[in-house]
Every structure is written in C-alpha cells, then in structure tokens.
Amino acid sequence: MGTSLDIKIKRANKVYHAGEVLSGVVVISGKDSIQHQGVSLTVEGSVNLQLSAKSVGVFEAFYNSVKPIQIINSTIEMVKPGKFPSGKTEIPFEFPLHVKGNKVLYETYHGVFVNIQYTLRCDMRRSLLAKDLTKTCEFIVHSAPQKGKLTPSPVDFTITPETLQNVKERALLPKFLIRGHLNSTNCVITQPLTGELVVESSEAAIKSIELQLVRVETCGCAEGYARDATEIQNIQIADGDVCRSLSVPIYMVFPRLFTCPTLETTNFKVEFEVNIVVLLHADHLITENFPLKLCRM
C-alpha cells in the first residue's frame, strides 16, 4: 500500500444534529511524498426511495420515477494542488451542517424501501498516472429532540380466541387467555419498549412468544402510494411452555439505524409497529398488532 486516505470523525459515535459542526481530520499517509491535484471534502445526504416488486406492477407509472431526494450536498476544497510530505499528515476540517431552503435533515434511517443516509467523502485528485483516491464514511444524523414531555400511552390487551379476527374455524382453536400491557406505545427511541405479558391459561402448550418489530414504509406522491410492512427484528421473549399466571417481561431495545422517529413527509412515510406473536404447539400462530409512535427526546 503506497498511499492511504482516511477520515476520522471526531465523535466516536459519529452522531450529529442539524446546526452542529461536523469535525474531524483527514489522514493521509504514505511512505513517500505524495503529489496531488487537490483534496476536497463533500457532505452528501439523501433519501433513497425504492419500490417493492409487488407494488411495481400496480403502479408502473412510478417505476424509475422515484428519484433520490437530496437533503444536503456541499463540497469544500481542503488542500490546493501540491505535495504531501512522506509520513502521516492530518488535516483537520469543520463542516457546519446547515441545509438550504426549507429542507430538513431527517434522521438517519436504514430501511428497505426508504433509506436516509449521510456520507462524508474525501477525494484526492491525482495526476494521470496515479489513480484518484476516495474515502467515504457514513455519519449519523439525529433529529433534534422533541420539545415538551412525552405523554405515555399505556395499552392493556387481552388475547383470547374470541378477540381474534381472521380466523376460519374458531371452534377448532384451543382455548387460551393471554393478558398483558405495553407501558407506552409512544416510545422514546433510546428507551426500550417495555411491558408485561401473562399467560393466564392455555389449553395448548406454548411454543414461543415473540416480539416482532415491523417497519411500515410508504412511498408516494400525488398519483398514489406504495405501503410495505417488513420485519426489522424478531425478539423471542418466551421459549417453551411458560409458567401460567407469571408475568413475562416484554422488553425490546430499538435497534440503531434501523429505526428512527416516526417520520411523515409529503413524499414518504416511515412508521413502526410491534406484533406480539404467540406460537402454540400444533402451529397455531396468534398475532396482536400495536402501532408505535417513536420519537427522540
């Protein structure tokens, strides 16, 4: 390896908020001195929308029409063409995170059909003989904490064969009674989802109880929209036939990057839901759905 280019962002967790200054150093190192045509630094941020295969058929008009929405894109020239001495050179930089116009720095989110991503790219242009060097590095944007206090919205639930919809033959179902509550469906993204679940009775042995975190992504515009729900993660909270009448904790940490505060814009929406999935022996699958509202405090 002759020459290497690296970006070191100052904050270890790489998290920045709108209005803050993104700072760090570009590290250039090489055994020999390095001739170059200038080093530039670019901040890019965009929302990538993609349509699911199943939506494509219905809304063919959308195909290819969904262009990335650019949030931020600016470049600064760090070093004029010249020469770096041999060894390690560190060039500090500061980048104020300001957006133009009425654009908003949405929070970083890695989804399936919606992706909000911010990158910092450093380019070193070099003469014809040597290849240009590029280094890309993702940084993370968190939206500003919500003002005011979050009002908790606890939900109690009871699941019995009777409460179920979508059942073909109710009579064939084994009897069961599952009670529980979620402490709040308004969730702070940094705090876990908590609650309790009690299997009061169940004729059939329980195989597993799981919490399924689901993202609901909507892409659309005036002409129509595509709405897709996909699983982010599935967390088992009970394995096997649990003790009756003993509460099992509901506890799930929201994964970073894959979740963000519930987001609603004119072009797309990102929402989250949680399913409580009870698997009985004989492969009965019972699901109870709870929409969540995530926010950052």
């Binding site: 390896m1 290497s4 904050r11 270890a12 967790n13 890309t136 590095c137 329980i206 109880i209 993660q233 599935n234 967390i235 088992q236 909270i237 009970a238 394995d239 096997g240 036939d241 649990v242 003790c243 003993l246 509460s247 099992v248 904790p249 506890y251 799930m252 940490v253 994964p255 970073r256």
Partner: protein, 897 residues
C-alpha cells in the same frame, strides 16, 4: 552302640576374629577411590583438604565434607550462576508482572473474590454428571467464508464481509452432529472454545459472537438430562471466556498512552470509543433472536456495564432475572438463574439486604457462597440475622450456617470477639437443647480457632449448663463428640487443654460407655500424634490416666481382639510418653500404678515390663555399671516387678521371651540369683508349651518357635555363672531334662537340632575364654578357670547328647526317613567339623562315618557335598589344621551312576 567321646576344638576367638576381618590397605595419595573428593588441580586440592582434617592427606575420606559435584565446578553451581545472570532480566520483567498481578487481583475484586470456588465445583460437576448415551450437537455455523484474509482495511470491504457473515448466520449451513459419545461432545465443545479464541484473536468478532450464540443455544436442549449439568459447565466456560475477552478488549481501549485505568474506575474515566464499542456489543446482543442465547450472552458480558454507568449492573440484574421467566423448561430456567448468580454475587448480596432480610434467602446465600466472602461480612450477616423474621425460618439455623462459614474462613481480626459475643448471645438463649447443641457445635470450631482457653472454657461451661438438665446430653452424643474433636484438634498442648477447667466435666457428660470410649480414643489418638516430648506434668498424667482407665475398663469378655489391640496401642502410646527424667523411683511407681490400672490388656503389661526393664538399664547406664547400694536395691525392685508381672500374662511365648529378656537385664545389673530365678522359671514353663499355638487367628505348630527361643536361650546360658550351691551347669542340665521330657513331634527332627545346638553351647563353654561376657559378671570360664573336673562334667554331658543324636539317626534308617537321615547326618558332620577336635581318632572316624551316612542312599545334594569338601580342603591349609588334609582324603564323593 559305642559311646563316642567329645573333644571340643579349643578356640582362640580373638585370633579367629582378626583373621576373618578384611585386611586394611592404606591408600596412597594419588590412588583412585570413589569416595575420595574429586580433585581437579593441585591448587584446588589444597583448598579442599584445608577444610577437612589438615593432617591427613586427601586419601582420608573424612575430609570430603565438600560435595564432589560442587568441587568439580569450581565452587560455583551452574544453576545459581545462571540465576545470577538471569536476575537482571527478572527485575526488568517484575514491573510488568506486578501490573499483571494487579490486574488479576483487580479481576478478582470485581467478581472473583465473591465467586464460589467455581473451579472446584466445576470439576466435581464434570466428574459426577456423566452419561453413556449418545449426544448430538446442532449448530448453525457460518461457512468458513469469512476467514481472516478477507479482512482488509477498506471500510466497505469490512462491512461487506460482515454482512456476508451475517447472511451465513441467517441461512447458515446447519451442522448436526449426531451420535456423539460424551468424550466426543466434550472435545467438540473444547474445539469451539478454541475457535472462539482464534476468531477473537484474528479480529473476527462477529464469528466469535456467533460461536457463543450457538453454544448457548445448546443449553436449551435437555434431551440427555443426566449430562445437562456437565454441559452447563462446559458451555458456561465458553461464555466466561467470551465475557472475559470482551471485557478485556474494552478495558484495553480505555488505556491510552498516558494512563492505565485505575482498579475501580468510574464510567467518567472511560473514553468515548470504548463506550461506543461497549454499547455496540449490547445493541448487538439485544437483537439476538432467541431468548436463551440472548440471556446467556448478555449475562456473560454483564460486567461490561461498568464502562457505561455506575448502576448499570444492578439495573440489568432484575431485568435479566425477569427474563428467565420466559424460559418454559424448568430445568433450563433454573440453570439460567444459576449462571446469573454465578456472574454476580456481590449484587445479589446487596439485593438480599434490600429484600427485607428474608431468612431463607440469607441461609441459602450463606450456604452457597464462598466462606471467605461470608466471613469478611460476618458483622453484616449477624445484623441481618438479628433483624430477620423468625417465623419462616428459625434463627439458630442461620447462626449455624454462619458458624459453618466462619469455621472455614477467618473474619477480619478486629471483628472476631464481637462476632463471638453477638452470636453466642443468641445461641445461649436457645431453649431447645437440640437447636442449641447444633449451633454450639459449629461455633466451637470458630472459638477454638481464634481464642484462648478462657473463651473455650466459657463455651464448654455454657454447653454443660445447657445439656445437663433432663440429661439432654443423651440425645446429642454425636454433637458433643464433635465438639471434643474440634477442641482437641486445636489444643495440641495437652497441658493447656487439661487446664481448661471445664474439659473434664465436659467429658463426664458422655455417660454411655461406648460413646465415652470413643471420645477417649480420639483424645489419645491426638495425644500420640502431637505430643512430642515425654511429659511428667501431673495434670496431664492424671487426666490421661483417667482417660486410659476409661478405655481399659470398657474391655470385657465380649470385646473384639481388634478393639483390644487398638486400646492397648493407645494406652501404650501414653505410657511411652511418660517420663520423670532422673526421678527413677517416681517412674517405677508410675509403672506400678499403671499395672494395677491396666491389668486386663496384655500388650499394656508387656509394654510395662519392657519399660521397667529399660528403666533398670537406664539406671545402670547412669551409674556406669557400678551400682550403689541404693541403686542396686532399686534395680532389684525393677527386677521383682517384672518377675511378678510376667506370670499374669497368657501368651506362652510372650512369657518365655520376657523371662529370658528380664533375666538378661537382671544379669546385666548383677542380680545373679534373680537372673537364675528368671531362667528357672523359663525352663519350668517349657513343658507347658502347647503343640499348636494361635497366631493371627490361625493354629500353627509351635515347635519352630520353641526352637528359636531355645537357641536364643542357649546363647544366654553360656555366660550365666553357676550357682555355688547347685551342681555344675545346673541350668543346662535342667533344660536338657525338660527337652528330653517334652513330647516332640514324631515327624520332626527339632529335638535333634536342639541337641546339636546344645553341643555347640557345651563346646563354647569348654573354652578357656568365652566368646562374650557381661561387664562385671564372672562367667564360668573365670569361675572354674579351666578346671579339669568342670571339663570332664562338660564332656560327659556332650557324650550323652551325642548318644542321643546318634540314637535318633539310627531310628531314621527307614525308607521314608532316609532323606531326613542324610541331612541330619550332614548337619551333625558339620557341627563336628566346626566345634569338634578332629585330631581325636574316634571323633575323626565318626565324622567319616557320618559323611558316608549322608551319601549312602543318594539323598545328599552333590553340590553341597562338593562345597563341603572344598571347604575342608581350604581349612586344612590354615595353621594347626593340617590334620584336615588327611580327613579330606578319607571323604569320597559319591559319583552319580
């Protein structure tokens, strides 16, 4: 039959002795000798020999104090030399070492010191829970794609690799290993442990995590239930490894160039990168799909919470505990709890305190935790025990548990007395004697360990006070016995032990004889084991005599032989340890007292006789052989003691041997008439020797023992001077009469063998100077001074004995006895050769006849005959033995035909 006269060969023992000795050859200076110090150079030799005796040359081996090995090496041992050069290196590494040690200690103080001795328990579990059933391992392991080579510095590449690995994880090649034996299984787990370490070392953190997840998944399989505990141990080992690796990694990230993190760091000292890494781990683990692996892996890195917040661990604990409720299988969930407890004992302790001091919980904590852990917090525990509610779980059990811990580990120095006071305050108030004694038993150990006899005395007094009413002690012998055991285990100095006033009253509580004897045995065992010096301390003597008497008095007709032997061994051990030094009279009166006390145990009486004999010899030694009137009287008292004690013994050979032995002692102390009395007693006892005697429970013929005894006896008789009022050789005559009258086994030649020995004795007696003497005792040689009458008497006796031998040889001339005749004849021939004067024609003729007799029926061993002949020829070359040449010519060797 013609009577053959006996003519003893006259012997010069001194000359014979000198001629038998090896010739001493002086060693010249330069000669080689293996025991000589190795000398390398002339100058060294000088140095070496200076150290020893300087006058002698180096040939004297006495100068070789110096180790030959070291002298070779110029005085410098290569190892120490090496050590000397290695030393600077050692000092260089020391700071490193110490820092590591500190780290280790730090590790320990974090969780280690509070751990149960898991290493011990681990082995136990593995050894105990085994199976022969076939096992299976079901692993989703990523394919080996993500090998170390693919890890490059480019970020995107790295991400891709990880994603690939994660994909593997999702779809993964499922490997199911079936039909594994237990050993295969253990090996497989060990492999996984190793691959975890390898993966970690090659920076494949994701793979490492995957291994750990897969392993913990195995814990949800309870199919071979008897192996589950061992499986748990094996897999939690892996988890522990993983937890340690993560912790150390994050810890190392906190170490920058300037400083190392202190032992008890707070989260503020942890830098952001480390925190971020730590957080990452927790996020990663929080997204593990399945419950059991998620639980185990999180528990394994619980310690890492310290990097994030001070209260992290204690906040996680209740959550993890609740999480276990989700595990349906009770076995799996209980083991999960066990793992959590193992990981976090200190936190558990704090929670116990908060949980309203539940007594049952406290008790479990005290019985499960390592004793050191409990001991250092004894005062806390006492406080908690005091406060806790009596209704559910009795307090005395809690105190008992605490006491058990304190017996194993020491509480802080300053707290010790207070602990005892606090605990005993409660214990002494226990009403139920059973509860009381169960508690007291345990606490005695603690008291003995840390306090003096004063406290122990108090405790014993308290126990007596509690156990005496209503004879409560009758139900608690095991506990009381155990108290005694503990006390004597700590008080090896018996003078201190018996000065504990309440010790003997305590012993009095053992009123059931069998228990009492057991306790006495314990005491004596400890005494024998630990008493180093002989004692005359009246307190010890009194007490132990009492103890021994108790043991002795338990002997009755039904007592087993083994038991008797044991008791006798213990009592003998005591007797041997009693010494009044130069106060011999006191010593003798102690033996007198002991005899009256222990008359039912024969081995004790035997020991007493030996002790008294020893005392007599001891006296002789002090007086250097010249008894004063007083010591002479004392020695006679000793002899009298033995004389009257021996008849009370049962074992006939015991009596015979003791008579002989005591007679020898009497002789040595110039008590001639007493010695005669012993020998006469022995002689008169011989007719009573039964044909068969019981040896170790088997009946055996006694003749060989008698033969052995008599030979021994003859050796003594040589030097016993004749009594002026009795005839010449009266003891020998009497003994011969007894031998003559004894009914010997027809099929044995022992009688003749004895006669042969008598012949040897008589030959020795006819010498001018005897082979040996006793100092200050004139034997027959000086009494008679070679008087011809004495010699004639002697020869007459010889003739009689020879006649007997020849008579017997004649009776053996029957077919079935020819072999006996041959060997006996040869043995007689040898006797004549050794002791007879072959210049006498008749004796010479007799020997030739015997030679022929030995060979007559082809029974003789040719090799023996050849050797004998060779010997004769060799002897004939010695001075004054020329006549043997002629004899040898007359002794033909039988040729084999």
């Amino acid at each position: 039959m013609a009577v053959f006269p006996w003519h003893s060969r006259s012997r010069n023992y001194k000359a014979e002795f000198a001629s038998c000795r090896l010739e001493a050859v002086p060693l010249e200076f330069g000669d080689y000798h293996p025991l000589k110090p190795i000398t390398v150079t002339e100058s060294k030799t000088k140095k070496v020999s200076r150290k020893g005796s300087t006058s002698s040359t180096s040939s004297s081996s006495s100068s070789s104090v110096l180790d030959p090995l070291s002298s070779v090496l110029d005085g410098t041992d290569p190892l120490s030399m090496f050590a000397a050069t290695a030393d600077p290196a050692a000092t260089v590494t020391r700071p490193l070492d110490s820092s590591r040690k500190r780290r280790d200690r730090d590790e320990n103080s974090i969780v280690g010191s509070d751990f149960e001795p898991w290493a011990n328990k681990r082995g136990e579990i593995l050894a105990r829970y085994t199976t022969t059933e076939k096992l299976s391992i079901n692993l989703f392991m990523g394919s080996e794609k993500g090998k170390a080579g693919t890890v490059t510095s480019a970020m995107s590449e790295k991400v891709r690799t990880r994603l690939e690995e994660l994909d593997d994880f999702e779809e993964g090649s499922q490997k199911e290993l079936l039909n594994l034996t237990q050993q295969d299984y253990v090996n497989r787990i060990e492999e996984l442990n190793q691959s975890l370490k390898d993966a970690w070392a090659s920076d494949q953190k994701v793979k490492a995590l995957k291994i750990v997840i897969q392993c913990s998944k195995l814990l949800s399989d309870t199919s071979v239930i008897q192996f589950y505990p061992s499986k748990f141990v094996l897999i939690t080992d892996i988890l522990d490894t993983f937890g340690k690796l993560v912790y150390e990694r994050i810890f190392s990230m906190c170490v920058d160039n300037r400083s190392v993190l202190p032992d008890h760091f707070s989260p503020e000292n942890v830098n952001d990168t480390a925190k971020e890494t730590c957080l990452n781990w927790f996020f990663k683990i929080a997204s593990i799909r399945e419950l059991i692996p998620r639980f185990y892996v999180e528990a394994s890195i619980l310690k890492c919470n310290k990097f994030l917040s001070k209260t992290g661990i204690s906040e996680c604990l209740p959550r993890l505990t609740c999480m276990i409720r989700g595990i349906g299988d009770p076995l799996v969930s209980v083991y999960a709890r066990a793992y959590l407890c193992r990981a976090l004992l200190t936190e558990m302790m704090d929670r116990c305190k908060k949980l309203g001091n539940n007594a049952l919980l406290l008790n479990s904590v005290m019985s499960a935790f390592r004793a050191e852990f409990i001991a250092t917090r004894s005062m806390d525990f006492i406080g908690m025990i005091k406060e806790c509610d009596e209704s559910g779980f009795p307090k005395h059990l809690l105190f008992r548990s605490l006491g058990l811990n304190l017996a194993l580990a020491d509480p802080p120095e300053g707290d010790r007395l207070q602990i005892l006071n606090e605990a005993w305050k409660v214990i002494t108030k226990l009403k139920n004697p059973q509860d009381y004694i169960n508690c007291a038993e345990v606490w005695v150990e603690y008291t003995c360990k840390h306090f003096t006899k004063r406290e122990v005395n108090t405790v014993l007094a308290d126990v007596i006070k509690h156990m005496t009413p209503d004879r409560a002690f009758e139900d608690s012998y095991p506990q009381l016995h155990s108290i005694i055991k503990k006390v004597i285990a700590h008080f090896h100095d018996f003078s201190v032990l018996f000065s504990v006033e309440k010790f003997l009253p305590f012993l009095d509580m053992f009123q059931k004889e069998s228990v009492r004897v057991e306790v006495c045995k314990c005491i004596m065992e400890v005494f024998i084991k630990h008493q180093q010096e002989p004692t005359k301390d009246p307190v010890i003597l009194n007490a132990l005599l009492h103890v021994c008497k108790t043991m002795h008095d338990s002997v009755n007709a039904l007592t087993l032989e083994d038991e008797k032997r044991m008791l006798a061994y213990l009592i003998n051990g005591f007797i041997k340890m009693v010494s009044f030094g130069r106060d011999f009279e006191q010593q003798l009166s102690f033996y007198v007292e002991a005899r009256s006390m222990f008359c039912n145990l024969e081995p004790v009486l035997v020991q007493l006789i030996h002790s008294v004999n020893r005392l007599a010899m001891e006296t002789r030694k002090v007086m250097k052989g010249n008894h004063s009137r007083k010591t002479a009287a004392f020695v006679r008292a000793c002899v009298a003691y033995c004389f009257i004690t021996i008849p009370s013994l049962v074992g006939i050979f015991t009596r015979l041997n003791l008579y002989l032995h005591s007679g020898q002692v009497a002789l040595a102390n110039q008590c001639l008439s007493q010695a005669d009395a012993f020998f006469k007693a022995a002689i008169s006892l011989i007719p009573e020797v039964p044909k068969m005697i019981n040896i170790d429970g088997k009946m055996r013929p006694s003749e060989s023992f008698l033969l052995e005894f008599l030979c021994n006896f003859f050796s003594t008789l040589l030097i016993v001077p004749d009594h002026p009022e009795h005839g010449v050789l009266f003891l020998v005559r009497e003994l011969l009469n007894v031998i003559q009258d004894y009914t010997w086994e027809d099929s044995s030649d022992d009688k003749i063998r004895i006669y042969t020995c008598v012949l040897h004795l008589l030959s020795a007696m006819s010498q001018e100077n005897y082979l040996y003497h006793i100092d200050k005792v004139d034997s027959n040689d000086s009494l008679y001074g070679g008087d011809s009458k004495f010699l004639a008497e002697n020869n007459k006796l010889c003739e009689t004995v020879m006649a007997q031998i020849l008579e017997h040889l004649k009776t053996l001339a029957k077919d079935e006895a020819l072999k006996r005749q041959s060997s006996l004849g040869l043995s007689f021939f040898n006797s004549i050769l050794a002791h007879g004067d072959l210049r006498n024609n008749r004796l010479n003729q007799l020997s030739v006849n015997l030679w022929h007799l030995a060979q007559r029926h082809g029974c003789a061993d040719t090799r023996t005959m050849v050797k004998t002949l060779e010997y004769i020829k060799k002897r004939s070359k010695q001075p004054d033995m020329g006549h043997l040449t002629e004899l040898a010519l007359r002794l033909p060797l039988q040729t084999r035909t």
